[in-house]
Amino acid sequence: MTIPLLDVQHLSVDFATRNGTVRAIDDISLVVGKGETLGIVGESGSGKSVTSYAVMRILDRAGRIAGGRITYGGMALHKARERDMRDIRGREISMVFQNPRAALNPIRRIGQQVADVLVQHSQATRGNAREKAVEMLRAVKIRDPEQRYDAYPFELSGGMCQRVVIAIALACRPRLLIADEPTTGLDVTTQKAVMDLIVDLTREYDMSTILITHDLGLAAAYCDRLVVMEKGRIVEANGSAELFHGAREAYTRQLLQATPRIDSEVRDLLPAALRATAMPLPETHDVGEPLLTVKGLKKQFGKPGADNGHLAVQDLSFTIREGESLGLVGESGCGKSTTSAMVMRLLDTTGGAIEFLGEDIAAIPAAKFAAHPLRGKLQMVFQDPTDSLNPRWSAAQSIGDPLQRLASHMNRQQREARILELAALVGLPVNLLDRFPHQLSGGQKARVGIARAIALDPRLLILDEPTAALDVSVQAIVLNLLEDLKHRLGMSYLFISHDLNVVRLLCDRIMVMQNGAIVEEGNARQLLAAPATDYTRTLLAAIPHPPQAAAND
């Protein structure tokens, strides 16, 4: 590595908040060499994005660079004027953000948005901007770029949008690309395509890249060097392989460990200290009588009998036995959530039967099911813990709600006692019970959601991507909690996810779903080891593979 392209030294960033100044970035230093790919990993809130914003000088109003130097190609960015920065941005350094759909102006044609950048940086004139923009769209592998030029973002899929965002970022051939979680929110399969595109292009253009992600697997798969951040500081920096093979810092090790791998067990994800105190898992467990039998389940949105006839769920049949956990995987939009909502009786079916504890609950309209005695036996943990908690209710109120509604025999004291018991069960510190959701961390919110779901001793718990919004270390803890609860309370799970690695940790059996139908089903280990269909194989291949290293000591 010769002269670094970007040199950040002792950078600190402060934010002014209602509670005074908060230091978001504290004295970090990093360098990016020419042609190098640097990964910044760390959990949510660790300061990854703020670092990149500081480099680009696009911090919020409230934020300011409190100290340190940012040098890019010999130029001091930390004290550059706004006008000079404008020339740097897009032309020298550009950025790709997560959530590509939101990153594009919804009411401007995508081609124009690419052209805007070209014209701004004098890479094109008004006359040839269209031509050049089309060229750029072609470069990011958008089919029919001439026609797509006039498309609006809403007419494109998420993956396509991300390609456009990349086209905007790369239009002026910058020398440094900062990609801030460019694949979050995309499908596993799309994620791989987008990452491969970035790698190809940066290589082709001889660019340096900073890849920001909380997915260690992804970072390791694509980066030369990694920087691990925690709470605004850099805890460790090293080459990817070195880091994976011999992480020096405990935090890094913990992160590595919490990242599910093809061969890890659910207990492996926990930090050593916790693993030691964890309850041992039984080697095998008994699977009892069928608890839930779904037969020929169908769902059509829109008017029944409408000619477009797209079935979100078509002819689905499966069985879950007592104590069994069944995984349901598939791409985004394949109908997983729709299935769970129907089983959960939140959504009316278009056809088919749902037999639960011997009763066909599909016959009961969703709106009436709230008063049904089986309501409490069929519960659910939601994907987004924030979204699933009423912002105006404290944790205790949220947990107590099902008790108040359905456990009518309980009096106030009994309810309070049960809430404390549940909090203990899910490991929620009692002093947090009076907090509102926005005052809780992601993991704590997930616990509240779980406590609420198990409050009524359900027989079947549906978990719809319960950890998708969580950091890996929190995910590790939550997964373990779920596993413990299953064994302690003897519940059955229907576990929904698009992440095969995660599903495998918790489930005995797995169903793979595509376009509303099951394409493959079988024992978890067998299915992953020897997938029978191409679709399953694609799903598996898309999972980024970190270097196979024994992080378990």
């Binding site: 912002p391 105006r392 509604r405 899910v426 929620l428």
Partner: protein
């Protein structure tokens, strides 16, 4: 069984400590964050005080004619001067606070309650409920608001109650629409689904879970409407459909006083006008503060 995850050591017996003081400190924060909001809260307190205690504090009976010579400019004896019947303008302005506040608060309360319930039901249940209420609301909205108020008051007679009802009816669509929009985006969010799973009936989900969450944007609407209700009453007074004399009311005082501008008796219109403006101003400005106050997200 052993516990397995950090922080799950069984609950200590100590009762959870609730952040009791937070409401006050939150109010203090909301007020100090934005000087304009702070000012508005101060004025609001003043208006409330005037409404509560005004009638006991004023120097003269606001209804008594001839407490001074007619049409006297402001003086030490009559701070805001006297009107054409020799009534004390200061006393009338202060005492009017109560009636004006009553009109605006009750009108807004009615339209808020009725409108938001209708809107919530439409937003939550959709379908025919939505279509019918939607058309109803459209029908009201299709009338220029003030003209509709005029029509209602003219048809029903100009009493304070009818002014309140008319104002409530014309404001109703705002709440209905807003509630409908806010409810329908929350109809299927996570916590609503969760509430259904907890065994809440549909109505309880709607009014127990969703409704409190649409309060913050509603607060802004409420505050705007309070100001608007007073202006509406003033407009009605101007065309002769306001409250009945001799009750002091700012709108009618401004409306009557407006005719005295040209002849130079400015105090008849300026002082009630200022009071009216101050009140409307306060209501308009206080909205954002109120929203922040009822929004738990804004609380630390």
């Amino acid at each position: 069984m052993t516990s397995m995850t950090p922080g799950s050591t069984v609950a200590s017996a100590t009762a959870p400590t609730r952040p009791r003081s937070s409401y006050w400190s939150h109010l203090k924060y909301v007020m100090s964050e934005n000087p304009v909001t702070g000012l508005a809260f101060g004025l609001f307190a003043l208006i409330i005080l005037a409404a509560l205690f005004g009638p006991y504090l004023v120097p003269h009976d606001p209804l008594a004619t001839g407490v001074g010579a007619a049409l006297q400019p402001p003086s030490l004896a009559h701070w805001f001067g006297t009107d054409h019947l020799g009534r004390d303008v200061f006393s009338r302005v202060v005492v009017a606070t109560r009636l004006d506040l009553l009109i605006s608060v009750s009108a807004v309360a009615i339209s808020f309650v009725v409108g938001s319930v209708i809107g919530s039901l439409a937003g939550y249940f959709g379908g025919w409920t939505d279509r019918i209420t939607g058309r109803l609301v459209d029908t009201i909205m299709a009338f220029p608001l003030f003209v509709l108020a005029m029509g209602i008051v003219a048809a029903a007679g100009n009493t304070v109650e009818n002014i309140v009802y008319a104002t409530a009816i014309i404001n109703l669509p705002f709440y209905a629409r807003m509630a409908r929009a806010e409810v329908s985006i929350r109809r299927n969010v996570g916590y609503v689904q969760a509430a259904r799973l907890s065994g809440n009936s549909e109505l309880r989900v709607l009014f127990g879970h969703i409704f409190p969450n649409i309060m913050p944007p509603m607060m802004v609407q409420i505050s705007l409407n309070m100001g608007w209700a007073i202006l509406n009453a003033a407009g009605l007074s101007f065309i002769g459909l306001g409250v009945q004399p001799p009750s002091p009311e700012w709108g009618i005082m401004v409306a009557e006083g407006a005719n005295f501008i040209i002849s130079g008796e400015w105090w008849l219109v300026i002082f009630p006008g200022l009071a009216l403006m101050l009140a409307v101003f306060t209501f308009n400005l206080i909205g954002d503060g109120l929203r922040d106050l009822v929004d738990p997200q804004r609380r630390t």
